[in-house]
Symmetry: C2
Subunit: 344 residues, 2 copies
Amino acid sequence: MTRPRPLVPPPDPTDSVGAIGEFGVIARVLARSGTAALAEVGPGDDAAVLRAPDGRVVVCTDVLVEGRHFRRDWSSGVDIGHKAAAANLADIAAMGAVPTALLVGLACPAGTPAAWLEDIASGMADECDRFGAAVVGGDTVASAPDSAAVVLSVTALGDLGGRAPVTRDGARPGNVVAVAGRLGWSACGLAVLRRGFASPIAAVTAHRRPVPPYGAGPAAADAGATAMCDTSDGLLADAGHLATASGVRIDLDRAALARGFLEPPGPLQQVAAALGGDPMAWVLTGGEDHALVATFPAAAALPHGFTVVGRVAEGAPGVRVDGVPAADVAAALGTGGTGHAHFG
Amino acid sequence: MTRPRPLVPPPDPTDSVGAIGEFGVIARVLARSGTAALAEVGPGDDAAVLRAPDGRVVVCTDVLVEGRHFRRDWSSGVDIGHKAAAANLADIAAMGAVPTALLVGLACPAGTPAAWLEDIASGMADECDRFGAAVVGGDTVASAPDSAAVVLSVTALGDLGGRAPVTRDGARPGNVVAVAGRLGWSACGLAVLRRGFASPIAAVTAHRRPVPPYGAGPAAADAGATAMCDTSDGLLADAGHLATASGVRIDLDRAALARGFLEPPGPLQQVAAALGGDPMAWVLTGGEDHALVATFPAAAALPHGFTVVGRVAEGAPGVRVDGVPAADVAAALGTGGTGHAHFG
């Protein structure tokens, strides 16, 4: 047997953030960060300057806290870089846009290994590279005096390429509801990690490095999607966001979800069988796969990758599954809620 | 005597972030946040959409950590909002651009008073309002399990209005070096607060709410500035950034600095006399006033607000004051360095 490569590089006091300093870290990280195709002024100045061909810029930000959103013993630096980038890039795609750049804020203890931060930068660069995007700016500071945790803030920018942005509030009765990407894989992988297993089975890998269906975002916009968001909080919760913003009821079809997301049987069933439980719980409430849930006019030709999972109806804003309100569905599945609770 | 209003609202367990939840906080904070004139899609969706009239967008990010960059017992929530916004908006101005929007990431303990976060939002909104800018997006998460500290990440966007961005690398021998804004006030105020005084004298107010010379940034670009940055780390350090990026020597003139920034005598002399020390130390090495230091061709007509403080010369990249290298100047002043050390 070969020993697995450790997730965190072994401590090296001469190569910590405190030892090499802020500017040393920045230089090391930038060497891994690539160059954004649209950057007119890249990292190293007071601010970056990025071309915005559409004449508008799409922008969002996420904060990832060690011990809440990632763990160094569960994910490598490269994994964390991929995941932090993906969470934001998926939000850009969910507007119908194509990512163009990232900015990264980092608060970390002085003892943080610089090599681990380089790994994070490498993961981000890999995740951005397919778009010609890259990190164009950032800030590195010491974490709070009482904390040994790393906090990453990631801002993503994107370009709409002339498309109208697809917001959350355009779902209309009669629309179909469709999902592109994976549902439940990240939550399933998290359940495996929580039990103390760390084998790189597909679901664990999906938790460490989600695979958002980036291209499906602009494709949905082109196909006339009326509303869209990414499933960072889980399908029930995020469909709920569309329902609330649009003032409509969303009726999900459990059989369609099972056909689309549990067939043919795969890692969700295998893990559910091993740990006990219903894989549909992960499909309905598991977040962080960054699938896209969108609504389309009934007559629209859905873009490749989208699976119809329900319909939009008139009614009190909310989500039902086979007619049962989301909260009752979640309670029956024992998931403790319809999705991710940020201050739970 | 009236009792001073407490800086932090008294604890109210029913009005904490944990009690009202992420979406409750977001709703409360957004009610204070105003609307960005250029926002096509504002807060509440996966991402914001902002018009970029110039066809380019200027963007930067900063992380502010409680206990490192602000203290709740030294600054009110409104102060912290002003300061966090100003630090980023000044970076936009330092490129020659006008701010258009902010995004704010927040990691905070569940016990954080929601009213205090509203105060931060109010301060940010005030600081943005002069530009027609506002917060267009953000993220709110629980802070690290081991930490009671709040971490704010702020991303600012701006528009160049057709100007060429003013970067750090364009200073040329023969250029003049000029500064707009205040130097040393924030550091002086910090010295007062560190001695346990909290009276709102001018320097303390300047520490709590820096007053960057925003308009001087675009004006400098219009006047042909060859290089520019904001003095977030202190004049010696930030002039050093220009010198290094441009490959030039910057010669500062102590008498010109004294005339421009210590005359007529004001809070710096008063505090220096009371605490003991040389106010020039704050002028040369005090950060966080977010003054702008720029270089101009010798023949340029300097915009209103800029004071000439030195010249650019050929030579090994670095800063000298009356011919003495910056490190020696700082050592003689007893400041322990040329500016702010982020992992000191």
